[in-house]
């Protein structure tokens, strides 16, 4: 039990140092992304939605740092707006997938038996559905919007969290400190909550980093199809969709947005790998 607490303590101070050493680029990219998601829209030099046809499709300039889109809107400001949308997607998916998936996996793995069997099969069935298809069906049934699209993707993220937390729970179920807790009279639910769950933090953070990056990509894909963020609000996907049509006329549009998305995904994956190493080492 004390080992658990120690792991968590050491995390806060040592983690940052470890990440800076192991994956400075990943950390920098992800930090930049979240800073622009949180503060970007407040510092945007122009409105994200104001059209100005006279200024359409301009290249980068002092006035418009990254140029303007086909309706004369400022690309830099829209990119900041899009990063907030992506940040929201990240949060929604990780919260839904993380809470529901972890709860399911923890319960199934911790209790075992018939409950485990049923939950595992259900999770496997869920995992059998292609994420994007489920998302499209849900959005088609409801209305296209960021929240609907991301709830759909969040549901699809449940199996990942459930499987990881289940396997950790099974590994821990019969370890000494759990048996000690049981011997001290702790109830099963209490054991799951305060003994097993804290020990999953590492793997869960790693899964969250990958699924969160995936969520940003799904959001972009769905918005690319017109199923996510609705116009005129910017999103990586809808900006790419627009840029694609003007590839030969103003290629910088596609390059800029493409770089932004890939930069973030790359950063997130580097960071995820580093996190994985960290927790592996800490174990």
């Amino acid at each position: 039990m004390s080992a658990v607490v120690q792991t968590r303590r050491r995390g806060n101070a040592g983690l940052l140092r470890f990440l800076i050493r192991r994956s400075p680029l990943g950390l920098a990219l992800v930090t930049l992304f979240f800073l622009s998601a949180v503060f970007g829209p407040h510092f945007a030099p122009h409105s994200m939605t104001d059209t100005n046809l006279a200024m359409a499709l301009q290249g980068p300039s002092a006035e418009h740092w990254l140029g303007t889109d086909p309706l004369g809107r400022d690309v830099f400001s829209r990119l900041l707006g899009a990063s907030r949308v992506a940040g929201q997607a990240f949060l929604i998916v990780v919260l839904i997938g993380g809470i529901a998936g972890t709860a399911l996996g923890l319960f199934a793995g911790g209790r075992g038996g018939l409950i485990d069997l049923v939950v595992s099969r259900v999770v496997e069935i869920l995992q059998g559905f292609p994420t994007i298809l489920v998302a499209i069906v849900i959005v088609a049934l409801l209305n296209p919007s960021l929240t609907n699209a991301m709830v759909a993707v969040g549901l699809a993220a449940i199996p990942d969290f459930a499987r990881v937390s289940r396997s950790v729970a099974i590994q821990l179920r019969d370890r000494e400190f759990i048996q000690a807790a049981r011997g001290l009279g702790a109830g099963e639910m209490r054991i799951l909550w305060s003994e097993v769950l804290p020990n999953m933090a590492g793997p869960l953070v790693v899964i969250a980093s990958f699924d969160g990056a995936q969520a940003v990509l799904w959001e972009a894909s769905l918005s690319f199809l017109g199923l996510g963020v609705q116009p005129p609000d910017p999103s990586f996907g809808s900006m790419l969709r627009e840029a694609q049509n003007y590839l030969a006329i103003q290629p910088s549009l596609a390059i800029i947005v493409g770089l932004a998305v890939s930069g973030f995904i790359l950063g997130m994956n580097l960071l995820g790998d580093a996190l994985g190493d960290y927790f592996e080492q800490a174990r």
């Binding site: 939605t49 006279a54 894909s221 199809l225 017109g226 005129p232 790419l240 030969a248 493409g258």
Partner: protein, 516 residues
């Protein structure tokens, strides 16, 4: 002629392809098409890229088959053909015709020696059957409005048909130019194996993938090319790439940015002489507050048509507020520039109707997935009105959902749309689904409008007819049931040989002179 837009079903299929993976689709498509290169290297075959599939092979049932120039233009023929140069009727299946001075009967002499693709002779009975089939309420042909005035059709002999009309119809020939003649015995199989009299025989249709027709050697005007294959390629960049690597010889119906990019890449562009299409906002005039014409007029002032034409259409569009193009004799002079872009005026008119910053106008503009220029229109109007403090949202709908909400069960405020003007006949515009008194998208039919449309259509004295049509235009410009934005030609991308295509204003194109 009553086609709903040039792009039709685009996004259905586009969406599906994009499922392959967002932007990956864009890069994969040219590769996928490149692999078909060897298969299509057979000589004398024209390959045309279209953005969406047709919805039926039956030429009398497909007005919203926007890719009408496929089966309707090649496998079937009508009595007459509207010449895009003169906008007058040329002979097609009819050799000559005579319209009685009172305008109540018309006699058509049919071309001798014409055969159906199965070898049987084409006769007057086929014409009688075809016109009656279009009129049959049980068939429900969308072309029925073209023949409302037709009270009887009879075969005088094997090669003579007499039409009797309830009232004179000045646009009779234009109306007949869109009615394809079908063979009665073929009708049960017409949607799988259509038989026509046209220069091409139907070969195959793989829905969502390709449509193929082959040369009919027996035709009096046998085509140069051995076969035409239309490939459904929803992505505009992929179509451009197909033109560049030679897998496509032609791309039908593209917009301004594609024209610019094609020109930049050295791809030929074919353009119709008449401005065949208009883009517009439809307004649900049955729904408050859009039943107030001041609101509709304000919206007309809140859209900058000039700059829109210059930037979104790269100057290829001709801004106007009047759906009637200036080429038509009935055009109301100086009307195109009415309702100039003026946000102060828009604000004032909205304030008169009770909408200010404190009581903002709340509305939703619908637009259709895949129609890039229409989406830009919606976003521009939204932005302008929101700057005045109103609350406008834009919703992009999949085309089938859009058809449902706009055409079938009207449940909308405003929507973007585009429409064929029918430049050859003034009557067709006022009988289109946008403006027809009987039923129209705008749900607009004020007192006396139906009567005026009927009288204008039946007027035989050209001077009086012009007068009546100008009265109609004044009414529409005052009432603003729809906000017209521009007139457009149709654009095709094409190789040198394919440039011989003749694009007909009535939706029947001539492929006989085309070489790949």
């Amino acid at each position: 002629m009553q086609d709903r837009g040039p792009n039709g079903m685009i996004m259905n299929r586009a969406q599906f392809l994009r499922l392959l993976g967002a932007s990956a689709a864009a890069t994969m498509m040219p590769v996928a098409m490149g692999s078909g290169l060897s298969a299509m290297a057979q000589e004398s075959e024209l390959v045309v890229g279209i953005s969406s599939d047709i919805n039926t092979l039956d030429p009398q049932m497909s007005p919203s088959d926007v890719f009408r120039h496929t089966i309707r233009s090649t496998v079937f023929e009508a009595l007459v053909y509207i010449n895009p140069e003169t906008l007058k009727a040329d002979p097609m299946l009819a050799d000559s015709w005579e319209i009685a001075p009172d305008g109540l009967t018309a006699t058509f002499k049919l071309k001798p020696g014409v055969t159906w693709h199965d070898g049987s002779p084409f006769t007057a009975a086929d014409v009688v059957y075809s016109l009656k089939r279009v009129q049959d309420k049980n068939v429900g042909s969308p072309f029925a409005p073209q023949l409302v005035a037709l009270s009887n059709v009879e075969a005088l002999d094997d090669h003579t048909v007499k039409l009797t009309l309830a009232n004179p119809v000045p646009g009779l020939l234009t109306n007949l130019a869109v009615i394809q003649i079908v063979k009665e015995a073929n009708v049960p199989q017409i949607n799988t194996a259509p038989i026509g009299t046209g220069p091409f025989k139907f070969a195959s249709w793989a829905p969502g993938d390709r449509i193929r027709v082959e040369r009919y050697a027996e035709h009096r005007n046998a085509p140069q090319v051995g076969a035409i294959e239309w490939r459904i390629v929803p992505d505009s960049q992929a179509r451009l790439a197909g033109m560049q690597d030679g897998t496509l010889h032609m791309v039908a119906l593209v917009d301004g940015k594609d024209v610019i990019q094609a020109q930049g890449a050295g791809i030929g562009v074919l353009q119709t002489k008449p401005y065949i299409l208009y883009e517009n906002f439809n307004i649900n005039t049955k729904r408050a507050p859009f039943d107030d014409k001041r609101v509709r007029q304000a919206l007309a002032h809140a859209f900058d048509r000039e700059t829109y034409a210059k930037t979104v259409w790269f100057g290829f569009a001709r801004p106007t507020i009047n759906p009637v193009p200036p080429e038509m004799a009935t055009y109301l002079q100086e009307s195109a520039t009415m309702y100039p872009y003026d946000l102060d005026k828009a604000a004032a008119l909205l304030a008169e109707a009770g909408f200010t910053k404190d009581n903002p106008l709340k509305m939703e503009i619908l637009t259709i997935q895949g129609f890039d220029t229409l989406k830009s229109m919606a976003l521009i109007l939204q932005d302008n009105l929101n700057r005045l403090g109103h609350q406008v949202t834009v919703r992009e709908l999949e085309v089938t959902v859009w058809l449902d909400r706009v055409l079938h069960k009207p449940d909308y405020d405003i929507t973007t749309d585009n429409f064929n003007t029918g430049p050859e006949d003034p009557a067709s515009m006022f009988n289109s689904p946008n403006l027809a008194p009987a039923a129209n998208v705008n749900q607009w039919n004020p007192e006396g409008y139906a009567d005026l449309v009927q009288r204008a259509g039946a007027e035989l004295d050209p001077a009086k007819q012009i007068e009546l049509y100008q009265q109609l235009q004044k009414l529409i410009l005052e009432e603003m049931p729809q906000i017209t934005v521009n007139h457009l030609p149709l654009f095709f991308l094409s190789t040198e040989g394919a440039k011989a295509l003749v694009i007909g204003p009535s939706g029947i194109d001539d492929y006989t002179k085309v070489v790949p």
